[in-house]
Amino acid sequence: MIGVAGAICLLGSGRIMGVSGIVGGLVDGTGRRTAAERLVFIAALIVAPAAAASLTGGAATHLTTNLAQIAAAGLLVGLGTRIARGCTSGHGVCGISRLSLRGIVATLVYILAGGVTVAAMRALGVF
């Protein structure tokens, strides 16, 4: 389904389905011209799973309740994806599928960084 959505964006509108870019363009104003389609995409991205979750009796993220951890993680994700100019959907799915070197490298790096972080948090007793 994730891939089909990306294909719809690409062949339907010529857009690359990279969430950090779709959101980031609204945040820094570079996406002002395409604001409507960005907002509609984001709205659907939020509403569809919300509706599905409520119809099936709820879904859970199992997100930590440690607020400092959440805030730090969010900051890193927002900061890092904009600096890298892409995230899992952009560099990962859309990038690797076209054999983009940037996509491949970015994905390897962020997965490794994720792995190191999980291992470190375990070692520190955070997880």
Partner: protein, 148 residues
Amino acid sequence: MLRLSIAALAGAIFGLGLLVSGMTDTTKVRGWLDVFGDWDPTLAFVMGGAMLPMAVAWRVAAARRAARLTAFDGGDLPGPAPRGIDTPLVAGSVLFGAGWGLAGLCPGPALASLGFGGATGLLFAAAMLAGMVLARYVNLSANRTAGA
């Protein structure tokens, strides 16, 4: 109107796909990122599976572009992928990966779970937006170009 419909359709399918695949389940994501520990490879199949329709779509897009055709709604199809591995790509990915490993949410799932993720989910999304704002002030050359 067509463009907005396409955006809505894609966003909805993407969101449902993220939910169904487990990408919004931070426990699953942590297991997948636990490459040096108790690795759960399940999400690799999710990402890999997503790449299959995308790869086909890229081939079709390339052929259409070569034939000077547009996307279905008349939009321009993307050109060749930018080349060149630069510091922002790597440094940014390190930061992103660290954040993803810390909480288990990346941008897509962060939004897709807003409807059921509670107040903590909202906090993550707010922090993510703050991080994106912060990125504008980070003095790396790649950031100065108006992005696509």
